[in-house]
Amino acid sequence: MEQPNSLILEMQSGNEKAFFRIYTLYSEALFGIIYSIVLDEGVAEEVLQDSFIKIWDNRISYNIEKGRFFTWILNIARNSAIDKTRSKDFKNSKKNLSTSNFVDILAGSDNLNQKTNAIGIKRFVDALKPACIKIIDLLYFKGFTQVDASKELKIPLGTLKTRNRNCINDLRTMVLG
């Protein structure tokens, strides 16, 4: 998917319509990421709202010449969600949610997103190696740095890179056909 640079530039100049189109393009993905962290729909909506308000407020600080727009907003959403899980009222209302990952979410619920390819992904991730699930969860959904992830998984950096690539490659063959 090519990055919609002209839309991003329009949004950066303050165009609300462009911002809405960007919201349409990315809100579901960010919602999935946030939900995988806070594991509560209401809280996830709250965090998604905050994330897009932050994206709007800081829209000038993103540079299309440097870095992917998706990576930039992914960081904002992940950090907002992680901040939320550290807040006092969140800790008081939630018990332990550390064990859940994206595969658990996919497996545990049938009334998630109605997207047709969700079914396919579900079937595929069921077959994903446990090592892949862990790597993708840490690096993509939890936002670990490669150093932190290699420490967490107790594997060398090079191995982490290769394994992550292979896992995403497997996923990709299935998702994009």
Binding site: M1, Q3, E16, F20, Y23, S27, E28, A29, L30, F31, G32, I33, Y35, S36, E41, A44, E45, L48, Q49, F52, I53, W56, D57, K66, G67, R68, F70, T71, L74, N75, F102, L106, L112, N113, Q114, K115, A118, I121, K122, V125, I136, L139, Y140, F141, G143, F144, T145, Q146, V147, A149, L160, K161, T162, R163, N164, R165, I168, R172, V175, L176
Partner: protein
């Protein structure tokens, strides 16, 4: 590094996840700019990850966008809306009014002081007038007293037919105290450089004695002159003389002449 090496290194996947350290991020970005196939690879990985995240996303309520739009518009109106600070405006207006008031009062005060000064000057002028009028009145009273008293006799000096037939002068003479008042009202004004001189005369032999000049020195009241220490005269005469007067009367300039014998 070649495009293939970058693609197989596993760095691109980490780059899209935002997990690469700064130096390796820069390396990937340089490769993206250099090799189109690296850019395509990045886009594919990104699409895969977006799909994965979308797959686990619960149904998103349309209210979320409404809330976001409301929030950014609220912030915007707060930022750009020119909120009127009535307290400050009122304060400034009051200060300006206060200053204007002070200037107005200063101006009024100046005007009043000017008025006082003018009035004071007018008072001084009026006082001078009163003083003048009072002294005039005193002089007139003095003259009137003299004219009414029995010690003074009144004589009219008729005009000399040859020189000034219309002219005349009145003399009020106190023989006991040898004081005479001369009223010059009946004389024409003395020409420039000339002055009227009063003489007392003994007729036989004709002896003129100068009594004095009708000048400011002797004036008592408009046109009335006072002379003292006059020797017993039989007549008074008035001649027109050069300024400063003469030793003897210039008889062809004799304006009036009259007897004052009792």
């Amino acid at each position: 590094m070649t495009a293939e090496e970058i693609i197989t290194s596993g760095k691109i996947e980490l780059y899209v996840c935002g997990s690469l350290p700064t130096d390796e991020t820069q390396e990937v970005e340089e490769a993206i700019a250099l090799y189109p196939q690296v850019k395509t690879e990045v886009e594919r990985i990104e699409a895969t990850l977006i799909n994965l995240a979308e797959a686990i996303s619960p149904t998103l309520s349309a209210l979320v966008w409404t809330y976001i739009l409301e929030s950014i518009r609220k912030v915007r109106t707060l930022d750009s809306g020119s909120r009127t600070n009535w307290a400050a405006i009122t304060g400034w207006a009051a200060a300006i009014l206060f200053l204007a008031g002070i200037f107005w009062m200063l101006k009024e005060n100046n005007n009043l002081q000017d008025n006082v000064q003018v009035t004071t000057t007018e008072n001084v002028i009026l006082k001078e007038k009163v003083t003048t009028t009072e002294s005039d009145l005193a002089a007139a009273n003095e003259v009137l007293t003299i004219l009414r008293s029995k010690e003074y006799n009144t004589y009219t000096l008729p005009g000399n037919q040859a020189v000034a037939p219309e002219a005349f002068a009145k003399v009020y003479y106190n023989r006991t105290e040898k004081i005479a008042y001369i009223d010059s009202k009946g004389l024409p004004p003395a020409p420039n450089g000339k002055v009227y001189q009063v003489w007392s005369l003994i007729m036989d032999p004709l002896t003129p004695t100068s009594v004095g000049l009708l000048s400011d020195v002797a004036v008592i009241e408009g046109g009335i002159y006072k002379f003292e220490n006059i020797p017993d005269p039989e007549a008074f005469g008035i001649t027109l003389e050069p300024e400063g007067g003469s030793e003897t009367p210039t008889l062809n300039q004799l304006y009036t002449l009259g007897m004052v014998t009792p």
